[in-house]
């Protein structure tokens, strides 16, 4: 009798929990779209490629993540360009020229790191303040999601952050994070997008 009662409770709770989760997810999606829609034009820059492999699996995994980000921004009505959309080598010079020719509202570089999340901001004077604000929000969001120990605050002058003129950041995701895991990659994408402030017309 007790077992039957327990089963009934589980049967009642399970659909309710699923419904609540779906509602939360769709609310999150709408929220993310608003953040993505705040960007008129973006250049996404998956690092390495071709003979330049980076860390093991880096050039492939950042390309997949870039594709996911591209889809979200396109759905939100943002104009999206990628510095590479296949496994080919693109020099840092070419990447920076591409970004500077497009002059997007936002640049996001994607790399992998050995141990911790890092977010490096563009250092160009005109884009510096906006880039640092996005960086700080991303780091704070990633620290909440993955723990403070998983995030490095260190800033390093990189070729891309030194040579591009558009606001933006270069994000490094630890190699031990499995980006093939949809839940994990969704969580990272959420934190990246939440760092973009919705434009006033998109704020609710």
């Amino acid at each position: 009798m007790k077992k039957l009662f327990a089963c009934l409770i589980i049967l009642l709770i399970l659909p309710a929990a699923c419904f609540a989760n779906a509602a939360h997810a769709s609310e999150g999606d709408g929220d993310l779209k608003r953040h993505a829609a705040s960007v008129g034009e973006i250049v996404i820059d998956p690092g390495h490629g071709g003979f330049d492999s980076g860390l093991p699996g880096e050039k492939e995994s950042v390309l997949v993540l870039a594709g996911k980000l591209k889809d979200i921004f396109r759905e939100a009505g943002t104009k999206v360009a990628l510095t590479r959309d296949a496994n080919r080598y693109v020099s840092l010079q070419e990447r920076a020229s591409r970004v500077n020719n497009e002059m997007p509202d936002l640049y996001i570089g994607l790399h992998r790191s050995r141990t911790k999340f890092s977010v490096f901001s563009v250092m160009e004077d005109s884009a510096r303040a906006d880039s640092e604000a996005i960086r700080d929000r991303m780091l704070a969001g990633l620290a909440v999601a993955f723990g403070e120990d998983a995030v490095s605050m260190r800033q390093v002058p990189l070729y891309m952050t030194e040579h591009i003129h558009a606001p933006g950041v270069l994000v490094e995701i630890p190699a031990n994070i499995d980006l093939d895991d949809e839940t994990v990659s969704a969580s990272i994408i959420t934190k990246l997008l939440q760092a973009l402030e919705p434009s006033p017309e998109n704020r609710h």
């Binding site: 980076g54 093991p56 790399h111 992998r112 141990t115 890092s118 260190r154 002058p157 990189l158 070729y159």
Partner: protein, 197 residues
Amino acid sequence: MRVLWIFLALALIAASLAAGVYKGRMRSVEQRTLPGLPSAVEGNDWEVVNARLFFPKGDALAAEERRITLRGASANSANLADTAALARAGAVMDELLRGPILLSGLAEPLVPSGTTLKGLFIDADGTVYIDLDRSALSGAPKDATGEYLSVQGFYESLKQNVGGVRAVKFLIDGKELDTLWGHLDAGRPVADEYDEE
């Protein structure tokens, strides 16, 4: 008599050809040694000094104190134009390429073991040009912080142990690359203003 003249003319031609070949060889030897370390030890003077060498440990640099031998060089020389400073820089480079010893297992080498120094030059402004062979870029790949710490390790070690050093620039097999490991601008010398803010 005519035979003698012909013989003399041939001998002259042969002698000038031989001189030309010898001079060419000398020039190629000079070109090989000029950008590199002084290979010959001049005199018998040598000195053992303390050196502070920097290697990546976690996401920072760790210092390792080591006794290094300077041969044919004055340890106190701060004149970059003389061979003493170059010899001192060369001795520091040799130690850096050996990797961490006291910090072995704790700190990481700056470049893979087996990397060779192909040339070393210091200009009048205090920029050290380090020419490494391509094996520097082999081995375990680096992330952005790892790349930064490696170039900083060379720079800090040379700055702290060789008077007058103001910057370091890297060459691979004699060529300038736009980046070493795909993150930093290798076209720009590593200097103090390069450091994080």
